[in-house]
């Protein structure tokens, strides 16, 4: 039915294979990141997310890309000379140590594969959900895609308005969560999605507010509803 996730693959001059392999090899110094065009890898990734978006995979890929950029940045910066000369004796057994570590890693990789087989089987066995188990998110008639589209609309509008691009104050998710809850507390009939963001606000403010909203939905504190495909997305506080 659904395809097993295979992760993002990279195809650039100098490397071809899964993204997580690139991260591992780069970390072990077996691939020279200086020769890998990370901008191309990122462009490729972005292009692919436009076709189809698996949120889990996309987030992980994004995280790995960030790790690669960080590694490459460190690589390109001039290094301070080592404060002490390296001990001479340890060098001869270095390949052995590396081999040992790889062998250990392979064992765990195999174990992970075994867990995958168990996961596959267990996902084909359905049990009655336990009371109090995290149930489905509180989205009624709204898909995650709908939410993202609404978010994009708000963001595009802000860019058009050329609102202040730099915030004076840092915007915090925790603060925005509190502000959203406050706004919803005063509106039992719900608040329209676009009204959460205000008029002249920066892109950072919008992104952080959206993240805050997603967290509130995940924590089952806010419910998102949409009466029909063209109706506005309404948000309401969950009353327990």
């Amino acid at each position: 039915m659904a395809q097993k996730s295979v992760g993002y693959t990279v195809k650039v001059p100098g490397f071809e294979g899964p993204l997580d392999l690139l991260v591992t090899l780069a970390h072990q110094g077996r691939v020279d990141l200086a020769t890998i065009p990370l901008a191309d890898v990122t462009q490729d990734f972005l292009a692919r997310t436009r076709d189809s978006l698996d949120l889990n995979e996309a987030t992980e890929a994004l995280w790995m890309l960030a790790a690669l950029v960080e590694m490459k940045a460190k690589l390109l910066l001039p290094k301070a000379p080592p404060s002490e000369p390296l001990p001479e004796t340890g060098e001869s057994d270095l390949p052995e140590k590396l081999e040992e570590r790889l062998a250990e890693y392979r064992q765990f990789r195999d174990a992970a594969e075994a867990l995958r087989a168990l996961e596959d089987l267990q996902q084909r066995i359905f049990v009655r959900p336990l009371a109090g188990e995290p149930a489905d998110l509180l989205l009624e008639g709204v898909t995650l895609d709908d939410l993202f589209r609404a978010f994009e609309t708000v963001l595009t509008r802000a860019r058009r308005n050329r609102a202040a691009e730099v915030e004076d104050e840092p915007v915090r998710v925790a603060d925005r969560k509190a502000a959203i809850l406050e706004a919803l507390a005063g509106a039992p009939q719900g608040v329209e999605f676009t009204r959460l963001f205000g008029r002249r606000v920066s892109a950072v403010f919008i992104v952080v507010t959206f993240l805050a909203l997603l967290e509130l939905i995940k924590e089952h504190k806010v419910r998102a509803q949409q009466a029909g495909p063209l109706s506005p997305i309404m948000l309401a506080a969950v009353t327990v």
């Binding site: 039915m1 072990q28 889990n56 174990a111 992970a112 168990l118 267990q122 066995i125 049990v127």
Partner: protein, 198 residues
């Protein structure tokens, strides 16, 4: 061959063909409890509810497990209890009915991280990263969020790093009865487990 005196003498093994009325009745009661429970029920709890000896309960479960040709359900020993679920061969039908797409699987990186924590527990972020060779914060956060791992205090070394271990949900997620059921490390153990899962 009978369980007339429930709770007194452990009954002897009963082959499926000559299961007597008492065993069938006990089995039916066990099945009913497992249905309403949803999650795993420890054998002690079943025995207590049914006023039966735990050996008799275990025998009733075995009887239920052998009736594969007459039921779409199965009983697994999971997280220290018995759990009633649907048989994997009916997964497509159930999904169709629930309008349920394939559940999210863990990503490869998350599974590797989880494997290291499961075998080495309690383990720190540093333990995981030492073996995987890459930073693993992201995966650890996701696993905590999914409640497959939990914080287990701090290690008494420099920096007092947080220790992680697996949860009860971890056992249920992978259909394991306890941590001893993790496949032994090394290829052969893994292969045994893969064969068993098929």
């Amino acid at each position: 061959m009978s369980t007339r005196q429930e709770g007194v003498a452990p009954p002897t093994a009963v082959a499926e063909g000559d299961a007597d009325g008492a065993l069938r009745e006990l089995a039916g009661a066990v099945e009913s409890i497992l249905l309403v429970a949803g999650g795993p029920v420890p054998v002690e709890k079943l025995a207590e509810a049914l006023g039966a000896h735990r050996v008799a309960v275990a025998q009733a479960v075995r009887y239920l497990q052998q009736r594969t040709h007459v039921t779409g359900l199965l009983i697994q020993a999971v997280a220290g209890g018995y759990q009633l679920g649907t048989r994997p061969e009916h997964a497509e039908a159930v999904r169709q009915f629930l309008q349920n797409q394939h559940s999210d699987s863990l990503t490869r990186g998350a599974l590797e991280t989880l494997a290291i924590i499961a075998y080495r527990q309690p383990a720190t972020r540093g333990d995981v990263e030492q073996i995987r060779g890459v930073r693993s914060d992201w995966h650890i956060e996701r696993l905590l969020e999914h409640q497959l791992i939990r914080e287990m205090g701090r290690r008494a070394t420099v920096g007092r790093p947080m220790l992680f271990g697996t949860t009860e949900l971890f056992l249920r997620y992978f259909g394991l009865n306890d941590l001893a059921e993790l496949p032994p490390m090394g290829t052969r153990g893994v292969q045994t487990l893969l064969d068993a899962a098929r």
